[in-house]
Protein backbone atom coordinates (compact mmCIF):
# COMPACT_ATOMS: atom_id res chain seq x y z
CA UNK A 1 0.00 0.00 0.00
CA UNK A 2 2.74 2.39 1.01
CA UNK A 3 4.57 1.41 -2.10
CA UNK A 4 1.56 2.18 -4.30
CA UNK A 5 1.12 5.54 -2.65
CA UNK A 6 4.75 6.40 -3.22
CA UNK A 7 4.64 5.46 -6.85
CA UNK A 8 1.50 7.53 -7.28
CA UNK A 9 3.31 10.56 -5.89
CA UNK A 10 6.25 9.93 -8.16
CA UNK A 11 3.91 9.63 -11.08
CA UNK A 12 2.11 12.89 -10.25
CA UNK A 13 5.43 14.70 -9.87
CA UNK A 14 6.55 13.25 -13.17
CA UNK A 15 3.42 14.44 -14.99
CA UNK A 16 3.59 17.84 -13.41
CA UNK A 17 7.17 18.31 -14.49
CA UNK A 18 6.24 17.15 -17.98
CA UNK A 19 3.44 19.63 -18.15
CA UNK A 20 5.78 22.41 -17.23
CA UNK A 21 7.96 21.43 -20.14
CA UNK A 22 5.23 21.66 -22.74
CA UNK A 23 4.21 25.20 -21.94
CA UNK A 24 7.33 27.12 -22.86
CA UNK A 25 7.35 30.87 -23.06
CA UNK A 26 7.34 32.14 -26.59
CA UNK A 27 9.01 35.29 -27.76
CA UNK A 28 6.85 36.36 -30.67
CA UNK A 29 9.51 38.71 -32.02
CA UNK A 30 11.90 35.77 -32.50
CA UNK A 31 11.52 33.34 -35.36
CA UNK A 32 12.23 29.66 -35.72
CA UNK A 33 12.13 27.08 -38.45
CA UNK A 34 9.02 25.18 -39.36
CA UNK A 35 9.20 22.52 -42.03
CA UNK A 36 6.23 20.89 -43.69
CA UNK A 37 6.88 17.41 -44.99
CA UNK A 38 4.88 16.28 -48.03
CA UNK A 39 5.19 12.53 -47.74
CA UNK A 40 3.67 11.11 -50.92
CA UNK A 41 2.00 7.72 -50.49
CA UNK A 42 -0.46 5.62 -52.46
CA UNK A 43 -3.18 4.23 -50.20
CA UNK A 44 -1.35 2.39 -47.46
CA UNK A 45 1.90 2.05 -49.40
CA UNK A 46 4.87 4.32 -49.81
CA UNK A 47 5.05 5.88 -53.29
CA UNK A 48 7.81 4.30 -55.37
CA UNK A 49 8.22 6.03 -58.71
CA UNK A 50 8.62 3.69 -61.69
CA UNK A 51 8.52 0.48 -59.68
CA UNK A 52 5.50 0.51 -57.36
CA UNK A 53 2.32 -1.04 -58.78
CA UNK A 54 -1.00 0.18 -57.40
CA UNK A 55 -4.68 -0.45 -58.09
CA UNK A 56 -7.33 2.27 -58.09
CA UNK A 57 -11.03 1.97 -57.22
CA UNK A 58 -11.86 1.35 -60.88
CA UNK A 59 -9.75 -1.83 -60.59
CA UNK A 60 -7.01 -0.45 -62.84
CA UNK A 61 -3.38 -1.16 -62.03
CA UNK A 62 -0.93 1.68 -62.58
CA UNK A 63 2.62 2.85 -62.02
CA UNK A 64 3.70 6.44 -61.49
CA UNK A 65 6.68 7.88 -63.36
CA UNK A 66 6.38 11.54 -62.38
CA UNK A 67 4.74 13.51 -59.60
CA UNK A 68 5.19 17.25 -59.15
CA UNK A 69 2.98 19.89 -57.59
CA UNK A 70 3.21 23.48 -56.40
CA UNK A 71 2.34 24.44 -52.84
CA UNK A 72 2.23 28.10 -51.85
CA UNK A 73 0.71 30.79 -49.65
CA UNK A 74 1.19 29.12 -46.28
CA UNK A 75 -0.83 30.50 -43.37
CA UNK A 76 -0.34 29.26 -39.80
CA UNK A 77 -2.75 29.71 -36.92
CA UNK A 78 -1.58 29.72 -33.32
CA UNK A 79 -3.50 28.11 -30.49
CA UNK A 80 -4.58 31.61 -29.42
CA UNK A 81 -6.27 32.06 -32.79
CA UNK A 82 -3.84 34.59 -34.25
CA UNK A 83 -2.50 33.85 -37.72
CA UNK A 84 0.84 34.24 -39.38
CA UNK A 85 0.95 34.66 -43.15
CA UNK A 86 4.30 33.53 -44.51
CA UNK A 87 5.61 36.36 -46.77
CA UNK A 88 4.52 35.53 -50.29
CA UNK A 89 7.87 36.06 -51.99
CA UNK A 90 9.39 33.19 -49.99
CA UNK A 91 6.35 30.98 -50.17
CA UNK A 92 6.31 29.02 -53.44
CA UNK A 93 7.55 25.45 -53.45
CA UNK A 94 7.60 22.78 -56.09
CA UNK A 95 7.26 19.32 -54.57
CA UNK A 96 9.00 16.84 -56.84
CA UNK A 97 8.81 13.19 -55.81
CA UNK A 98 11.99 12.41 -57.75
CA UNK A 99 13.94 14.98 -55.75
CA UNK A 100 13.52 14.18 -52.01
CA UNK A 101 14.98 17.45 -50.75
CA UNK A 102 12.12 19.38 -52.41
CA UNK A 103 9.44 17.55 -50.45
CA UNK A 104 10.12 19.24 -47.09
CA UNK A 105 9.78 23.01 -47.59
CA UNK A 106 11.17 25.11 -44.76
CA UNK A 107 9.47 28.25 -43.47
CA UNK A 108 10.58 30.93 -40.99
CA UNK A 109 7.79 31.65 -38.55
CA UNK A 110 7.51 33.55 -35.24
CA UNK A 111 7.89 31.51 -32.07
CA UNK A 112 4.63 29.98 -30.91
CA UNK A 113 2.42 26.95 -30.80
CA UNK A 114 0.60 26.36 -34.07
CA UNK A 115 -2.54 24.30 -34.34
CA UNK A 116 -3.68 24.98 -37.90
CA UNK A 117 -1.95 24.96 -41.26
CA UNK A 118 -3.34 26.19 -44.54
CA UNK A 119 -1.76 26.40 -47.99
CA UNK A 120 -2.69 26.63 -51.65
CA UNK A 121 -2.16 23.71 -53.98
CA UNK A 122 -1.01 25.58 -57.07
CA UNK A 123 0.15 29.08 -57.91
CA UNK A 124 -2.31 31.85 -57.04
CA UNK A 125 -3.82 33.95 -59.81
CA UNK A 126 -1.84 37.03 -58.85
CA UNK A 127 1.50 35.27 -59.27
CA UNK A 128 0.21 33.70 -62.46
CA UNK A 129 -0.19 37.13 -63.99
CA UNK A 130 2.64 39.08 -62.37
CA UNK A 131 5.56 40.67 -64.28
CA UNK A 132 8.14 38.16 -65.54
CA UNK A 133 10.82 39.72 -63.31
CA UNK A 134 8.89 38.48 -60.25
CA UNK A 135 8.91 34.88 -61.45
CA UNK A 136 12.18 33.68 -60.03
CA UNK A 137 13.25 30.53 -58.25
CA UNK A 138 10.76 27.70 -58.65
CA UNK A 139 8.53 29.97 -60.74
CA UNK A 140 11.18 30.66 -63.43
CA UNK A 141 10.01 29.08 -66.72
CA UNK A 142 13.71 28.63 -67.55
CA UNK A 143 14.36 26.91 -64.24
CA UNK A 144 12.48 24.44 -62.10
CA UNK A 145 9.13 25.57 -63.49
CA UNK A 146 10.07 24.31 -66.97
CA UNK A 147 7.51 21.63 -67.64
CA UNK A 148 5.22 23.16 -65.03
CA UNK A 149 4.24 26.12 -67.21
CA UNK A 150 1.92 26.37 -70.18
CA UNK A 151 3.48 28.85 -72.58
CA UNK A 152 0.58 28.78 -75.06
CA UNK A 153 -2.05 29.38 -72.39
CA UNK A 154 0.02 31.43 -69.98
CA UNK A 155 -0.15 29.85 -66.58
CA UNK A 156 1.44 27.36 -64.23
CA UNK A 157 0.57 23.69 -64.09
CA UNK A 158 -0.36 23.14 -60.44
CA UNK A 159 -0.29 19.38 -60.34
CA UNK A 160 1.43 17.04 -62.77
CA UNK A 161 1.19 13.28 -62.52
CA UNK A 162 2.28 10.84 -65.18
CA UNK A 163 2.49 7.10 -65.27
CA UNK A 164 1.57 3.97 -67.14
CA UNK A 165 -1.34 1.60 -66.95
CA UNK A 166 -2.17 -1.45 -69.07
CA UNK A 167 -5.68 -0.02 -69.55
CA UNK A 168 -4.43 3.17 -71.24
CA UNK A 169 -4.81 3.15 -75.02
CA UNK A 170 -2.14 5.85 -75.46
CA UNK A 171 1.22 5.03 -77.01
CA UNK A 172 3.29 3.24 -74.38
CA UNK A 173 0.16 2.86 -72.20
CA UNK A 174 0.90 6.20 -70.61
CA UNK A 175 -1.45 8.46 -68.71
CA UNK A 176 -0.86 12.15 -68.04
CA UNK A 177 -2.74 14.48 -65.73
CA UNK A 178 -1.54 18.08 -66.01
CA UNK A 179 -3.87 20.21 -63.92
CA UNK A 180 -3.71 24.02 -63.87
CA UNK A 181 -6.04 26.96 -64.69
CA UNK A 182 -6.24 29.82 -62.21
CA UNK A 183 -9.48 31.40 -63.31
CA UNK A 184 -8.34 33.27 -66.40
CA UNK A 185 -6.74 36.58 -67.21
CA UNK A 186 -8.53 38.06 -70.19
CA UNK A 187 -11.64 35.91 -69.74
CA UNK A 188 -12.90 33.71 -66.92
CA UNK A 189 -11.91 30.05 -67.09
CA UNK A 190 -12.12 27.11 -64.71
CA UNK A 191 -10.40 27.82 -61.40
CA UNK A 192 -8.59 24.74 -60.12
CA UNK A 193 -6.78 26.54 -57.28
CA UNK A 194 -7.43 24.73 -54.01
CA UNK A 195 -6.81 25.88 -50.46
CA UNK A 196 -6.09 23.07 -48.04
CA UNK A 197 -6.64 23.63 -44.32
CA UNK A 198 -5.51 21.07 -41.77
CA UNK A 199 -6.19 21.08 -38.03
CA UNK A 200 -3.10 19.90 -36.16
CA UNK A 201 -4.68 19.62 -32.70
CA UNK A 202 -5.48 15.92 -32.73
CA UNK A 203 -2.13 14.72 -34.03
CA UNK A 204 0.18 17.29 -32.54
CA UNK A 205 0.61 21.04 -32.67
CA UNK A 206 3.87 22.54 -33.87
CA UNK A 207 5.87 24.28 -31.18
CA UNK A 208 8.41 26.64 -32.61
CA UNK A 209 11.18 28.37 -30.75
CA UNK A 210 14.20 30.15 -32.13
CA UNK A 211 16.29 27.29 -30.85
CA UNK A 212 13.84 24.51 -31.59
CA UNK A 213 12.40 23.71 -34.99
CA UNK A 214 9.39 21.55 -35.74
CA UNK A 215 8.27 19.43 -38.66
CA UNK A 216 4.64 19.00 -39.65
CA UNK A 217 4.48 15.61 -41.31
CA UNK A 218 1.71 15.32 -43.88
CA UNK A 219 0.69 12.25 -45.79
CA UNK A 220 -0.28 12.94 -49.39
CA UNK A 221 -2.35 10.04 -50.61
CA UNK A 222 -2.07 10.02 -54.39
CA UNK A 223 -4.69 7.28 -54.59
CA UNK A 224 -7.25 9.95 -53.75
CA UNK A 225 -6.57 11.60 -57.10
CA UNK A 226 -8.35 8.58 -58.59
CA UNK A 227 -10.68 7.61 -55.79
CA UNK A 228 -12.96 10.33 -54.52
CA UNK A 229 -16.16 12.21 -55.22
CA UNK A 230 -15.86 10.88 -58.75
CA UNK A 231 -13.77 7.77 -59.32
CA UNK A 232 -11.37 8.48 -62.16
CA UNK A 233 -10.79 5.75 -64.69
CA UNK A 234 -7.46 5.79 -66.52
CA UNK A 235 -9.05 3.87 -69.39
CA UNK A 236 -11.63 6.60 -69.87
CA UNK A 237 -9.40 9.59 -69.10
CA UNK A 238 -5.78 8.82 -69.86
CA UNK A 239 -4.78 12.38 -70.79
CA UNK A 240 -6.28 15.32 -68.93
CA UNK A 241 -4.81 18.79 -69.34
CA UNK A 242 -6.75 21.95 -70.24
CA UNK A 243 -10.23 20.48 -70.28
CA UNK A 244 -13.42 20.71 -68.20
CA UNK A 245 -12.57 17.29 -66.72
CA UNK A 246 -9.53 18.83 -65.01
CA UNK A 247 -11.94 20.24 -62.40
CA UNK A 248 -13.07 16.70 -61.52
CA UNK A 249 -9.49 15.66 -60.81
CA UNK A 250 -8.82 18.84 -58.79
CA UNK A 251 -11.96 18.18 -56.73
CA UNK A 252 -10.52 14.77 -55.88
CA UNK A 253 -6.95 15.79 -55.12
CA UNK A 254 -8.04 18.52 -52.73
CA UNK A 255 -8.72 15.67 -50.27
CA UNK A 256 -5.37 13.91 -50.54
CA UNK A 257 -3.64 15.74 -47.69
CA UNK A 258 -3.83 14.60 -44.07
CA UNK A 259 -1.83 15.47 -40.98
CA UNK A 260 -0.02 12.41 -39.67
CA UNK A 261 2.07 13.80 -36.81
CA UNK A 262 4.32 16.66 -35.81
CA UNK A 263 7.95 16.27 -34.85
CA UNK A 264 8.72 18.88 -32.23
Amino acid sequence: MKYTFLSLIVLVIFFTSCKKDITPEYNSSATGQLSVEFDNVVGNQDLQLNTGVYTNASGETFKLTLLKYFVSNFILTKTDGTTYIVPQDSCYFLIDESSPNTTIPKLRVPEGEYSKLSFVLGVDSLRNTVDISKRTGVLDPAGTAAGMYWSWNSGYIFFKMEGTSPVSTQNGNIFQYHIGLFGGYTAPTINNLKTITLDLTARGTAKIKATKSANIHLLVDIMKVFNGTTNISIAKNSVVMVSPFSATIANNYVNMFSHNHTEN
Binding site: R135, A142, T186, V242
Partner: protein, 340 residues
Protein backbone atom coordinates in the same frame (compact mmCIF):
# COMPACT_ATOMS: atom_id res chain seq x y z
CA UNK B 1 26.61 83.61 -106.83
CA UNK B 2 28.71 80.50 -107.30
CA UNK B 3 29.18 80.34 -103.58
CA UNK B 4 25.41 80.60 -103.04
CA UNK B 5 24.80 77.69 -105.38
CA UNK B 6 27.49 75.71 -103.65
CA UNK B 7 25.91 76.42 -100.27
CA UNK B 8 22.50 75.37 -101.54
CA UNK B 9 23.97 72.18 -102.97
CA UNK B 10 25.65 71.39 -99.66
CA UNK B 11 22.43 72.14 -97.84
CA UNK B 12 20.44 69.85 -100.13
CA UNK B 13 23.06 67.13 -99.82
CA UNK B 14 22.77 67.49 -96.07
CA UNK B 15 18.99 67.11 -96.18
CA UNK B 16 19.19 64.08 -98.46
CA UNK B 17 21.79 62.47 -96.23
CA UNK B 18 19.72 63.21 -93.17
CA UNK B 19 16.61 61.79 -94.75
CA UNK B 20 18.39 58.55 -95.44
CA UNK B 21 19.46 58.42 -91.82
CA UNK B 22 16.06 59.13 -90.32
CA UNK B 23 14.72 55.60 -90.56
CA UNK B 24 17.92 54.18 -89.15
CA UNK B 25 18.31 56.24 -86.05
CA UNK B 26 16.83 54.94 -82.82
CA UNK B 27 14.47 57.55 -81.48
CA UNK B 28 12.74 55.57 -78.74
CA UNK B 29 9.09 54.62 -78.67
CA UNK B 30 6.64 57.37 -79.49
CA UNK B 31 2.91 56.93 -79.69
CA UNK B 32 1.68 57.89 -83.14
CA UNK B 33 -0.59 60.94 -82.82
CA UNK B 34 -3.55 59.14 -84.41
CA UNK B 35 -3.26 56.00 -82.23
CA UNK B 36 -4.87 55.45 -78.82
CA UNK B 37 -2.85 55.00 -75.61
CA UNK B 38 -0.83 51.75 -75.69
CA UNK B 39 -1.74 48.97 -73.28
CA UNK B 40 1.82 47.66 -72.80
CA UNK B 41 3.30 48.25 -69.33
CA UNK B 42 6.29 50.40 -70.31
CA UNK B 43 6.85 51.25 -66.64
CA UNK B 44 8.22 47.76 -66.01
CA UNK B 45 10.24 47.71 -69.22
CA UNK B 46 11.33 51.15 -70.39
CA UNK B 47 12.66 51.03 -73.95
CA UNK B 48 16.29 51.99 -74.35
CA UNK B 49 18.50 51.87 -77.41
CA UNK B 50 20.73 49.20 -75.85
CA UNK B 51 17.70 47.11 -74.90
CA UNK B 52 16.24 47.45 -78.37
CA UNK B 53 19.55 46.56 -80.07
CA UNK B 54 19.87 43.49 -77.85
CA UNK B 55 16.26 42.51 -78.57
CA UNK B 56 16.83 42.88 -82.30
CA UNK B 57 19.92 40.69 -82.18
CA UNK B 58 18.02 38.04 -80.22
CA UNK B 59 15.11 38.23 -82.64
CA UNK B 60 17.33 37.37 -85.59
CA UNK B 61 19.49 34.82 -83.76
CA UNK B 62 18.95 31.19 -84.77
CA UNK B 63 20.91 30.01 -81.75
CA UNK B 64 17.71 30.50 -79.78
CA UNK B 65 16.44 27.31 -81.45
CA UNK B 66 17.36 23.75 -80.55
CA UNK B 67 19.57 23.18 -83.59
CA UNK B 68 20.64 26.71 -84.55
CA UNK B 69 18.38 26.88 -87.60
CA UNK B 70 15.28 28.84 -86.65
CA UNK B 71 15.27 32.42 -85.41
CA UNK B 72 12.16 34.44 -84.57
CA UNK B 73 12.77 36.25 -87.85
CA UNK B 74 12.60 32.95 -89.74
CA UNK B 75 8.81 32.93 -89.48
CA UNK B 76 8.37 36.66 -88.90
CA UNK B 77 9.87 38.16 -92.05
CA UNK B 78 10.01 41.94 -92.17
CA UNK B 79 9.27 42.26 -95.89
CA UNK B 80 6.06 40.32 -95.19
CA UNK B 81 5.21 42.65 -92.28
CA UNK B 82 6.82 40.05 -90.01
CA UNK B 83 4.72 37.11 -91.20
CA UNK B 84 5.88 34.01 -93.06
CA UNK B 85 5.08 34.75 -96.66
CA UNK B 86 3.58 31.95 -98.73
CA UNK B 87 3.01 29.63 -95.79
CA UNK B 88 -0.56 28.85 -94.85
CA UNK B 89 0.70 27.57 -91.50
CA UNK B 90 4.08 28.27 -89.95
CA UNK B 91 7.06 26.20 -90.97
CA UNK B 92 9.38 25.49 -88.06
CA UNK B 93 12.24 23.35 -86.86
CA UNK B 94 13.06 20.01 -88.56
CA UNK B 95 10.64 21.04 -91.35
CA UNK B 96 7.69 20.70 -88.99
CA UNK B 97 4.48 22.45 -89.86
CA UNK B 98 2.51 24.34 -87.27
CA UNK B 99 -1.26 24.53 -87.12
CA UNK B 100 -1.79 28.26 -87.53
CA UNK B 101 -0.76 31.11 -89.79
CA UNK B 102 2.14 33.20 -88.48
CA UNK B 103 0.68 36.44 -87.12
CA UNK B 104 2.37 39.76 -87.93
CA UNK B 105 4.55 41.61 -85.45
CA UNK B 106 3.37 45.21 -85.58
CA UNK B 107 1.71 47.66 -83.23
CA UNK B 108 1.92 45.08 -80.44
CA UNK B 109 2.03 47.78 -77.76
CA UNK B 110 -1.73 48.12 -78.32
CA UNK B 111 -2.52 44.42 -78.17
CA UNK B 112 -4.09 43.20 -74.92
CA UNK B 113 -3.46 39.53 -75.79
CA UNK B 114 -1.34 37.46 -78.12
CA UNK B 115 -1.81 34.47 -80.41
CA UNK B 116 -4.89 33.72 -82.51
CA UNK B 117 -6.64 32.40 -79.40
CA UNK B 118 -5.40 35.10 -77.00
CA UNK B 119 -3.86 32.46 -74.72
CA UNK B 120 -1.01 34.78 -73.76
CA UNK B 121 -1.97 37.98 -71.93
CA UNK B 122 1.43 39.64 -71.82
CA UNK B 123 3.97 40.38 -74.55
CA UNK B 124 6.84 39.55 -72.16
CA UNK B 125 5.55 35.97 -71.85
CA UNK B 126 4.88 35.50 -75.56
CA UNK B 127 8.34 34.37 -76.81
CA UNK B 128 8.37 31.41 -74.40
CA UNK B 129 5.73 29.74 -76.58
CA UNK B 130 7.58 29.65 -79.94
CA UNK B 131 10.98 29.06 -78.29
CA UNK B 132 9.76 25.98 -76.45
CA UNK B 133 7.22 24.69 -78.99
CA UNK B 134 8.63 21.48 -80.44
CA UNK B 135 7.42 22.36 -83.92
CA UNK B 136 8.66 25.95 -83.86
CA UNK B 137 12.08 26.47 -82.24
CA UNK B 138 12.09 23.27 -80.18
CA UNK B 139 14.28 24.56 -77.38
CA UNK B 140 14.08 24.98 -73.61
CA UNK B 141 14.37 28.38 -71.94
CA UNK B 142 17.17 27.02 -69.80
CA UNK B 143 19.13 26.01 -72.90
CA UNK B 144 18.67 29.43 -74.46
CA UNK B 145 20.02 31.14 -71.34
CA UNK B 146 23.00 28.78 -71.25
CA UNK B 147 23.78 29.45 -74.92
CA UNK B 148 23.61 33.20 -74.39
CA UNK B 149 25.74 33.08 -71.24
CA UNK B 150 28.43 31.14 -73.08
CA UNK B 151 28.50 33.44 -76.10
CA UNK B 152 31.21 36.06 -76.55
CA UNK B 153 28.89 38.92 -77.42
CA UNK B 154 25.78 38.63 -75.30
CA UNK B 155 27.09 39.26 -71.75
CA UNK B 156 28.32 42.72 -72.76
CA UNK B 157 25.07 43.45 -74.64
CA UNK B 158 23.07 42.53 -71.53
CA UNK B 159 25.45 44.72 -69.51
CA UNK B 160 24.69 47.68 -71.78
CA UNK B 161 20.96 47.04 -71.73
CA UNK B 162 20.37 46.18 -68.09
CA UNK B 163 23.40 47.43 -66.15
CA UNK B 164 25.01 44.07 -65.45
CA UNK B 165 26.04 41.10 -67.55
CA UNK B 166 23.60 38.77 -65.80
CA UNK B 167 21.48 36.89 -68.30
CA UNK B 168 18.16 35.67 -66.95
CA UNK B 169 14.65 34.87 -68.14
CA UNK B 170 13.17 38.28 -67.42
CA UNK B 171 15.96 40.18 -69.19
CA UNK B 172 15.85 37.94 -72.25
CA UNK B 173 12.10 38.39 -72.60
CA UNK B 174 12.11 42.11 -71.89
CA UNK B 175 14.77 42.73 -74.53
CA UNK B 176 12.69 40.82 -77.09
CA UNK B 177 9.65 42.87 -76.07
CA UNK B 178 11.60 46.08 -76.60
CA UNK B 179 12.39 45.13 -80.18
CA UNK B 180 8.82 44.00 -80.92
CA UNK B 181 7.30 47.12 -79.36
CA UNK B 182 9.39 49.27 -81.71
CA UNK B 183 7.74 47.58 -84.70
CA UNK B 184 5.19 50.35 -85.16
CA UNK B 185 3.43 50.68 -88.49
CA UNK B 186 1.84 54.11 -88.89
CA UNK B 187 3.09 55.34 -92.26
CA UNK B 188 0.44 53.96 -94.62
CA UNK B 189 -1.52 56.14 -97.00
CA UNK B 190 -4.48 55.76 -94.64
CA UNK B 191 -2.36 57.29 -91.87
CA UNK B 192 -1.36 60.18 -94.12
CA UNK B 193 -5.00 60.81 -94.98
CA UNK B 194 -5.94 60.77 -91.31
CA UNK B 195 -3.16 63.26 -90.63
CA UNK B 196 -4.48 65.49 -93.38
CA UNK B 197 -1.35 65.00 -95.48
CA UNK B 198 -2.99 63.10 -98.35
CA UNK B 199 -6.42 62.36 -99.78
CA UNK B 200 -8.12 59.16 -100.89
CA UNK B 201 -8.97 58.89 -104.58
CA UNK B 202 -12.60 58.26 -105.61
CA UNK B 203 -12.29 54.47 -105.50
CA UNK B 204 -10.54 54.49 -102.14
CA UNK B 205 -13.13 56.87 -100.75
CA UNK B 206 -15.98 54.62 -101.88
CA UNK B 207 -14.11 51.65 -100.39
CA UNK B 208 -13.63 53.52 -97.12
CA UNK B 209 -17.39 54.13 -96.89
CA UNK B 210 -18.04 50.42 -97.55
CA UNK B 211 -15.42 49.52 -94.97
CA UNK B 212 -16.99 51.70 -92.31
CA UNK B 213 -20.43 50.26 -93.04
CA UNK B 214 -19.44 46.58 -93.13
CA UNK B 215 -16.05 45.87 -91.59
CA UNK B 216 -15.12 48.54 -89.05
CA UNK B 217 -17.25 47.04 -86.29
CA UNK B 218 -14.60 44.32 -85.83
CA UNK B 219 -11.63 45.82 -87.69
CA UNK B 220 -11.76 48.97 -85.63
CA UNK B 221 -9.80 52.02 -86.73
CA UNK B 222 -7.05 53.09 -86.46
CA UNK B 223 -5.45 49.73 -85.53
CA UNK B 224 -7.96 47.82 -87.66
CA UNK B 225 -8.85 45.32 -84.97
CA UNK B 226 -10.78 45.58 -81.74
CA UNK B 227 -8.75 42.60 -80.38
CA UNK B 228 -11.91 40.61 -79.65
CA UNK B 229 -12.44 36.94 -80.49
CA UNK B 230 -15.15 36.21 -83.00
CA UNK B 231 -16.58 33.38 -85.01
CA UNK B 232 -16.65 34.52 -88.63
CA UNK B 233 -18.30 31.42 -90.05
CA UNK B 234 -15.28 29.58 -91.41
CA UNK B 235 -15.79 25.84 -91.67
CA UNK B 236 -13.73 24.04 -89.01
CA UNK B 237 -10.40 22.94 -90.50
CA UNK B 238 -9.06 19.41 -90.72
CA UNK B 239 -7.48 19.52 -87.28
CA UNK B 240 -10.75 20.92 -85.88
CA UNK B 241 -8.98 23.93 -84.39
CA UNK B 242 -11.48 25.40 -81.92
CA UNK B 243 -9.46 28.57 -81.28
CA UNK B 244 -10.49 30.58 -78.24
CA UNK B 245 -12.35 27.59 -76.78
CA UNK B 246 -9.03 25.87 -76.09
CA UNK B 247 -8.20 28.70 -73.70
CA UNK B 248 -11.51 29.45 -71.99
CA UNK B 249 -13.31 26.08 -72.36
CA UNK B 250 -16.54 28.06 -72.86
CA UNK B 251 -18.98 26.62 -75.40
CA UNK B 252 -19.69 30.13 -76.65
CA UNK B 253 -16.02 30.52 -77.60
CA UNK B 254 -15.90 27.58 -79.97
CA UNK B 255 -14.26 28.38 -83.31
CA UNK B 256 -13.59 31.97 -82.30
CA UNK B 257 -10.31 33.57 -83.29
CA UNK B 258 -8.84 36.99 -82.67
CA UNK B 259 -9.86 39.67 -85.17
CA UNK B 260 -6.61 40.26 -87.08
CA UNK B 261 -5.45 43.74 -88.02
CA UNK B 262 -5.87 44.68 -91.68
CA UNK B 263 -2.75 46.81 -91.79
CA UNK B 264 -0.15 45.72 -94.33
CA UNK B 265 -2.57 43.24 -95.88
CA UNK B 266 -0.69 43.24 -99.16
CA UNK B 267 2.34 41.72 -97.48
CA UNK B 268 0.70 39.26 -95.12
CA UNK B 269 -1.03 36.75 -97.39
CA UNK B 270 -2.29 34.09 -96.96
CA UNK B 271 -5.24 34.98 -94.74
CA UNK B 272 -7.25 33.61 -91.77
CA UNK B 273 -5.94 31.70 -88.75
CA UNK B 274 -4.96 28.75 -90.91
CA UNK B 275 -3.97 30.71 -94.01
CA UNK B 276 -6.68 29.06 -96.09
CA UNK B 277 -7.28 32.05 -98.39
CA UNK B 278 -4.39 32.90 -100.66
CA UNK B 279 -5.73 36.22 -101.92
CA UNK B 280 -7.76 39.16 -100.71
CA UNK B 281 -10.35 38.39 -103.38
CA UNK B 282 -10.83 34.95 -101.85
CA UNK B 283 -11.41 36.60 -98.47
CA UNK B 284 -14.06 38.95 -99.88
CA UNK B 285 -15.72 36.09 -101.76
CA UNK B 286 -15.86 34.20 -98.47
CA UNK B 287 -17.59 37.07 -96.68
CA UNK B 288 -19.92 37.54 -99.65
CA UNK B 289 -21.25 34.00 -99.98
CA UNK B 290 -19.28 31.34 -98.10
CA UNK B 291 -19.92 32.25 -94.45
CA UNK B 292 -21.33 29.22 -92.62
CA UNK B 293 -24.10 29.74 -90.14
CA UNK B 294 -23.42 28.24 -86.70
CA UNK B 295 -24.55 28.92 -83.13
CA UNK B 296 -21.51 31.11 -82.38
CA UNK B 297 -21.52 33.07 -85.65
CA UNK B 298 -20.90 36.73 -84.92
CA UNK B 299 -24.01 38.89 -84.96
CA UNK B 300 -22.24 41.36 -87.26
CA UNK B 301 -22.38 38.65 -89.93
CA UNK B 302 -26.09 37.92 -89.61
CA UNK B 303 -27.73 41.25 -90.15
CA UNK B 304 -31.40 41.35 -91.17
CA UNK B 305 -31.56 37.58 -91.53
CA UNK B 306 -28.75 37.62 -94.05
CA UNK B 307 -25.58 35.59 -93.46
CA UNK B 308 -22.33 37.29 -94.51
CA UNK B 309 -21.58 40.60 -96.21
CA UNK B 310 -23.07 41.03 -99.68
CA UNK B 311 -20.75 42.86 -102.02
CA UNK B 312 -21.08 43.49 -105.75
CA UNK B 313 -17.96 43.08 -107.84
CA UNK B 314 -17.49 46.84 -108.12
CA UNK B 315 -17.92 47.17 -104.37
CA UNK B 316 -15.28 44.50 -103.88
CA UNK B 317 -12.92 46.50 -106.11
CA UNK B 318 -13.56 49.66 -104.14
CA UNK B 319 -13.05 47.88 -100.85
CA UNK B 320 -9.77 46.37 -102.04
CA UNK B 321 -8.66 49.83 -103.22
CA UNK B 322 -9.24 51.16 -99.70
CA UNK B 323 -7.57 48.16 -98.03
CA UNK B 324 -4.47 48.77 -100.14
CA UNK B 325 -4.11 52.16 -98.48
CA UNK B 326 -3.28 50.29 -95.26
CA UNK B 327 0.03 49.07 -96.64
CA UNK B 328 3.05 50.69 -95.03
CA UNK B 329 6.13 50.40 -97.21
CA UNK B 330 8.21 52.52 -94.82
CA UNK B 331 7.57 49.91 -92.12
CA UNK B 332 8.57 46.85 -94.10
CA UNK B 333 11.69 48.64 -95.37
CA UNK B 334 12.72 50.25 -92.10
CA UNK B 335 16.37 49.26 -91.72
CA UNK B 336 16.22 49.86 -88.00
CA UNK B 337 14.01 46.78 -87.72
CA UNK B 338 16.08 44.61 -90.06
CA UNK B 339 18.72 42.02 -89.31
CA UNK B 340 21.98 43.95 -89.02
Amino acid sequence: MKLKILIIIFFLAGIVACKKEITQVFAGFTKPDIFPTPVYHFETNPITEAGFVLGRKLFYDASLSANNTISCGFCHIQTSAFTQHGHSVSHGIFDSLGVRNTPPIMNLAWSPSFMWDGGIPNLDLQPIAPITNHIEMGNTMDNVLTTLRQSKEYPSLFQKAFGSSEINTARLLKALSQFMLMCVSDQSKYDSVMRGQAVFNTNENAGYALFKANCAVCHKEPLFTDYTFRNNGLTPNFINDMGRYDITLQETDKYKFKVPTLRNLQYTAPYMHDGRFLTLDAVLDFYDHEVQNNPNLDTALRKNGHIGISLSSSEKQQLVAFLQTLNDKVFIENKLLSEQ
